[in-house]
């Protein structure tokens, strides 16, 4: 099941909200018992949500939950590095088999290796489970003795499919002691509405433009068309991902959970270093905490720091997908971050470099997304060569667009951060005045209706012939 589907919006979500509310309304002297009831219900709802995409994948996730539970208890009792390594490898094995085995088999020229269907969300919940067992080992948290609560942490439906990756240390307090409020619910609903609009109205619309261009042969692309495809995809991936994160954060708030932000206007960055502090923050935070710092971070000299950065970013690349393009993408960012760390970062901070810094960062990011999107390295290089050489003219541009995609591009560029950052620079974290707050909620509800109309109309599935 996905958030941008009618069965989620008109069946699953309202049912879960209403039942959760009723469970919370049952009068009880023991508040913890009320919360317990809700947790069990939310766990059941999350398992149904996940099983909707395939019951077989549910068993895999349950396996991860049970291993994490048992592993946590054992590690809490005995801080053994060997045990931790063993548990981490078992938890990673599912991810390796389903996501990376085909790639590894290809590298080893192993014939007849089966092609596995990637279970949805496996990268996210595996990392959450790893976060738990490692934090228990480090003594940051005590092992969760309540299996349903741990299961809820790993499988909670708002962040199960596409993050943000929630670290156990950040959430365990909320599992047992959170307070829901109308104010929090309202904040969550607005966040959810805007997130859904980002996904349905902007990301999906721009995806049509990007897909159309990417379906063309790269060596025949006009320069302008290649740039349009790159920019469309750059915006598509941001609004798709951040929209999903907004929906996850919004849904969390509706049930009393506060998840950390995952995106902070990354396309307004003035360096690649800054970009990675604003893009998919939960993932970069996870890698910083569980890979970069254990490798030594920046505590062992410049060379070692640079090596650690390269390792982290190559793993970041391969986390996104089992392919050489993802590896190359991660490698590219690793190199750029090293260069910025060594000297270029200081250059970018010069006053005279203010605008060039934004342009440079934008260019690197767009090039990165071209590599990310391409089916293989050859196609990526062919596409990039069309972007950076003069070919053809602009004649095809109007035909590739529609009024909807033009509006999506305009709003996509406006809403990607420049306006919000300017506002924040001027007014700080000051809350909007009441009329504007109400207006923003009303806008959210309007966008919800428009998104629902778009999604419901998308169920139209005609055949050319009825009788014939």
């Amino acid at each position: 099941m996905i958030f941008s589907s009618m069965i989620f919006l008109w069946v699953f979500l309202p049912s879960v909200i209403v039942i959760n509310y009723i469970l919370g309304s049952i009068k009880t002297s023991d508040r913890s018992k009320a919360l317990k009831r809700k947790n069990i219900f939310l766990l059941c709802a999350s398992l149904v949500f996940y099983a909707w995409g395939g019951i077989d994948y549910l068993y895999l996730m349950l396996g991860v939950i049970i291993i994490s539970y048992l592993g946590g208890i054992v590690l809490d009792a005995k801080k053994s590095r060997v045990l931790l390594t063993f548990i981490v490898l078992i938890l990673l094995s599912g991810l390796i088999v389903f996501k990376y085995s085909a790639m590894l088999a290809g590298m080893l020229h192993a014939k007849d290796w089966p092609e596995f269907v990637l279970p949805i969300g496996i990268s996210f919940y595996t990392f959450q489970a790893l976060s738990y067992v490692i934090d228990v080992y480090r003594g940051k948290v005590r092992a969760m003795t309540d299996l349903p609560d741990l299961a809820l942490y790993i499988s909670f439906f708002p962040q199960l499919i596409a993050g943000p990756i929630v670290r156990y240390a950040d959430i365990n307090g909320q599992i047992n002691a959170r307070s829901e409020s109308a104010e929090l619910f309202l904040s969550g609903q607005k966040r959810f509405c805007f997130g859904l609009a980002k996904k349905v109205l902007i990301a999906n619309t721009l995806a049509e433009v990007a897909d159309k261009i990417w379906d063309m042969k790269p060596d025949g692309l006009d320069t302008a068309v290649a740039w349009l495809g790159a920019i469309a995809y750059t915006l598509q991936i941001y609004y798709d991902f951040s929209g999903y994160s907004d929906m996850a954060i919004g849904l969390g708030r509706m049930f009393g959970f506060e998840f950390k932000e995952n995106f902070n206007y990354p396309y307004t960055s003035s360096s690649v270093t800054e970009f990675w502090r604003r893009w998919h923050m939960s993932l970069s935070g996870w890698f910083r905490e569980y890979v970069y710092i254990p490798l030594g971070g920046n505590r062992h000299g410049t060379v070692r720091t640079c090596l650690n950065l390269m390792v982290v970013f190559m793993i970041t690349g391969i986390w996104h997908g089992a392919g050489y393009t993802f590896l190359f993408w991660g490698f590219m960012y690793g190199v750029i971050l090293v260069v910025e760390r060594l000297f270029f970062g200081k250059v970018l901070k010069l006053k005279a470099m203010k605008i060039p810094a934004y342009l440079y960062t934008g260019l690197v990011v767009i090039v990165g997304w071209v590599i990310f999107r391409a089916p293989d390295i050859e196609a990526a290089l062919a596409y990039l060569s069309r972007m950076f050489t003069i070919n053809g003219d602009m004649v095809k541009i109007p035909g590739l667009l529609s009024m909807k995609s033009i509006l999506a591009l305009i709003f996509g560029i406006i809403c990607m951060g420049p306006v919000s950052r300017l506002y924040k620079d001027r007014y700080g974290d000051r809350e909007l005045r009441l009329p504007y707050r109400v207006l923003s909620h009303a806008l959210g509800l309007s966008l919800l209706i428009i998104s629902i109309v778009s999604l419901a109309a998308g169920t139209y599935n005609p055949f050319i012939y009825f009788r014939f």
Binding site: W10, F185, K217, V395
Partner: protein
């Protein structure tokens, strides 16, 4: 924010999520009790399919997918939302589409551009006069609306002055004025098997717009069926290899042999897709090769077998001059196109037919087409198509139509025509525009849909037939062998 305001906003949010289902449920209850009719609200959106059902769900491997499809087909107010979405898209896109069309066409219709393409093509001496006449005729036409192909007089072709090609302006005329004007338009006689190939490479670039993954919009708003098979056919892909052709021919020869053994005549009719006959309306594409799959199959069958394999490509291209042969917004040929196809088939059976121009085709009520609904487009934007009826004697004999199966996919047509041979045509919806012409010749004609050829009713019709025709639109040319195999089985089946 005050408590009241906050609660109101939450209530509105929950209402958007819950109310549609509640109201819909209530309407269904009222419908069940006969208080109102839900079909007034739950209207047909033109999907041409039955709603997804839960039958056999326990056997299906993907239960949740079935449940999702079941729910999606029964969404509260689904049809109203689809129609609303069409209207919204239409309003949003209308101006931009007109702007884009103007950029690429420069305000010219396809007819204007095709004239220019024809004139610049190298000509033989004996063709020069003919082409010049065509040029003059089309320049001096009074009515040039998008998509119409008007039959013009030879007298106008004798006009000495050649008018310069100007941007055509479409004037608003009432429908009645248009029809009455055209009904009295004298015909242009087509010369059989003589046509001018449109030089589509001379046409300016025109982008491809795809709707709902299935419908392509080309020049002058023409719509085409845009699934992969069609695009492969048009762009010169998926050309069958020698082995594939030999296997194809083997099955068709076996079917002919089975027919010969039972004293039946056997024909195969492949109907060209719209883009094959009207490539000038198709958007600009990159061709993978100059070969085209249906043409390759046809030429192989003609050269390597004695199967009567009919592919009326030349006939249709010749008849284009007389009037339009295909709908602009539908995937099928129209009444005139169906006549040309029928003529090709009948003449292969030794039955001579008048030319299209001799039949005086006349336009009638504008219709919209299947591609509009398939593309989830607003009919209001595509409602000015044309069709033709052929009213020349002795056609349109009285006939009755009986459905021989419950789903109506096997039909018997009875007429007062003179030829008492029984003709069975096994095919698809392209046969629809042929039936009125076939029943003008044969007393009994059976239509069997290709998916119903294995039924008992079909078996009886096939066994009793004097003439068996397998008809298929060219996009499905490679699957004709499946139909042929079924025909063979029916012929060889015991009573």
């Amino acid at each position: 924010m005050g408590k009241g305001c906050r609660n109101a906003l939450i209530a509105m949010f929950m209402s958007i999520l819950i109310l549609p289902s509640v109201i819909w449920g209530a309407l269904n209850v009222l419908d069940a009790t006969g208080v109102l009719s839900i079909s007034d609200i739950d209207v047909d959106t033109g999907e041409k399919r039955d709603k997804a059902e839960l039958d056999g769900i326990e056997e299906k491997s993907d239960t949740t997918e079935v449940l999702t499809e079941y729910y999606n087909d029964r969404l509260p107010f689904r049809s109203q939302i689809i129609l609303l979405n069409r209207k919204i898209n239409s309003r949003i896109e209308r101006s931009y589409k007109a702007y884009v069309d103007n950029i690429y066409s420069g305000g010219r219709t396809v007819e204007d551009m095709v004239v220019q393409a024809t004139v610049t093509a190298p000509l033989k001496d004996d063709d020069a006069t003919k082409t010049e006449a065509v040029t003059q005729v089309q320049d001096s036409s009074d009515i040039k609306e998008t998509g119409k192909n008007v039959a013009l007089t030879e007298e106008e072709a004798d006009t000495e002055e050649t008018e310069e090609t100007e941007e055509t302006t479409t004037e608003t005329e009432s429908l009645e004025e248009q029809i009455s004007e055209l009904e009295s338009v004298p015909e242009t006689t087509e010369e059989e098997n003589v046509y001018e190939e449109v030089d589509i490479n001379a046409l300016p670039y025109f982008p491809m717009r795809i709707y709902n993954d299935q419908v392509i919009e080309g020049r002058d708003g023409w719509l085409f069926y845009g699934i992969k098979t069609n695009r492969d056919n048009y762009e010169g892909r998926a050309i069958p290899g020698q082995q594939q052709l030999e296997e194809y021919a083997k099955i068709m020869l076996a079917t002919k042999s089975a027919c010969d053994d039972t004293g039946k005549e056997f024909r195969v009719l492949i109907c060209p897709d719209k883009e094959t006959i009207y490539p000038e309306y198709y958007p600009t594409v990159e061709f993978a090769s100059e070969l085209r799959r249906p043409q390759v199959v046809y030429e192989y069958m003609r050269s390597a077998t004695d199967v009567d394999y009919i592919y009326p490509l030349t006939e249709l291209k010749s008849a284009k001059k007389v009037c339009r042969l295909y709908y602009a917004y539908d995937s099928h040929w129209n009444g005139a196109g169906g006549y040309v196809g029928s003529k090709s088939l009948l003449e292969s059976l030794g039955i001579q037919m008048k030319t299209l121009s001799e039949c005086k085709p006349a336009e009638f009520v504008p219709v919209s087409g299947d591609l509009v609904l398939l593309g989830n487009l607003d009919i209001a934007d595509y409602g000015n198509d044309v069709d033709y009826y052929i009213d020349s004697d002795p056609y349109h004999s009285i006939m009755t139509v009986s459905e021989l199966t419950e789903d109506g996919k096997v039909e018997e047509y009875v007429s007062s025509a003179d030829d008492h041979r029984k003709l069975v045509i096994i095919g698809d919806s392209y046969s629809e525009q042929m039936m009125k012409y076939l029943t003008d010749v044969f007393t009994k004609v059976f239509f069997v849909h290709k998916l119903s050829v294995d039924t008992e009713a079909a078996r009886e019709a096939i066994k009793n037939a004097d003439i068996i025709v397998i008809e298929s639109v060219e996009r499905n040319v490679m699957t004709v062998t499946e139909t042929a195999g079924s025909v063979m089985r029916q012929l060889q089946a015991e009573e």
